[in-house]
Subunit: 132 residues, 4 copies
DNA sequence: GTGGTCTAGACCACA
DNA sequence: GTGGTCTAGACCACT
């Protein structure tokens, strides 16, 4: 699991880290039950403060993507991944809408847009298969 | 053009305002050449700070969605809308990837995901037709 | 709103602060829409670090008891307070069970236990009436 | 006596273990004079660290719920159970108050709250009768 | 001036 | 050694 952070991005580091881990799960390179590095080792691995890692882990735990075991470490949610909650749908649509709107403005057709989504979907799911 | 802002959202107000205007253009309720309220009147209309509106307008101008004329006021880009630039593609993909990854984690199939995009695309483009 | 913290308690400070605010709401001394001190002023008022206050506020926001407006400050949830969610019920029962079990062990009758709850309920709700 | 631990809970393991034993006493499934497994066997039974069990036992002994004899092992307090001490009352009220306050905030009436306590009281005392 | 983020260092409870 | 908490100081975006 290689974490790539953009320190110049306007997206907070803890948020980027969360996204990378979620992508890892989506791609299959992180499987349910897999251990994650401790906050300290993850922090030193990617060169950021341990509190930033801690924040990312805590939020991922709150959303149900990982489990934090007391003094044992962190693992990818081994039971059921979080499902399609109304809050998730609201959040997802709120983030998706501006993207689609801008795409329309810039002249992308519906089919082009769908193709981009298809490509990115395949890119994510196929990334993991290499690691299997 | 009705602007809906969520003051509690973590999305900055100026960003929400930009998105609303872009959605207006995408839906067709704002057409090329259409005038936009002045910074001052927009600010008082929706009850936010003048500088916030100014920031939104300036950024929209930078991206090429609107034109700001000193005397004539603000109008939707009457000439060619901004196209598919590499910067746009990078930004779009950067925002799209985490959304798709999380959708996969939560068990959405590729087809369900595409359907959501289709629905939202139709929602945006049809919203405008009512206003024609 | 007077905040009383026990720095010696095993209950984390941010947790005590959350509880005090929730009690304030329950008693009616904090009403929906009422403003709360900024993280900085609350922190200096009660002599703790602003990050600790921030943590309490953030968690209260996540649970829906308060709203954090961007750059405007913090107010008690003016709309609908959080309701009876399954997660709340689980958490409440998990905390309540050991208390009731120990009470039984120590020889409290069911009626005595209920009376304690009644008394405490009245104590909380009447505290606020003085402040009306 | 079946011990159920939640390794992901924020409640320390030794605390959960204490609570389970107290609930066992409250329900009657553990009676005064009944033997408890040794620290060693309890630890291996429920798959936790020996020191964790030791800590739970020591605290239970301090509070007077069990007796620890060097040779004879561990037994539920055969003489008088700990009573209603001022320290107990303070601790109980400190834990009870936030629960009741939150219940009020979430719209539970006093009667609903009392009913929850009644139900839980019956749940605990009736659980034991099955084991008699 | 407000909250949000990041860094840093320290202590503690837990296992 | 692990995560949890608290403190402290700094910078930034937003309004």
């Amino acid at each position: 699991m290689i974490i790539q952070l953009d320190m110049q991005s306007d997206v907070p580091i803890y948020n980027q880290l969360m996204n990378q881990i979620i992508e890892g799960i989506a791609s299959g390179s992180l499987k349910p039950g897999d251990p994650l590095p401790s906050v300290r080792s993850m922090a030193s691995d990617i060169g950021i403060n341990l509190h930033t890692v801690n924040k990312a882990y805590t939020l991922l735990k709150q959303e149900g993507f990982i489990q934090i075991h007391r003094q044992k470490g962190v693992v990818i949610q081994p039971d059921t991944m979080p499902g399609i909650t109304p809050e998730y749908q609201d959040k997802r649509n709120a983030y998706l809408k501006p993207i689609i709107a801008e795409a329309i403005c810039r002249g992308l057709s519906e089919e082009q847009l769908l193709q981009i989504v298809r490509d990115m979907h395949n890119e994510i799911t196929q990334t993991g298969e290499e690691n299997v």
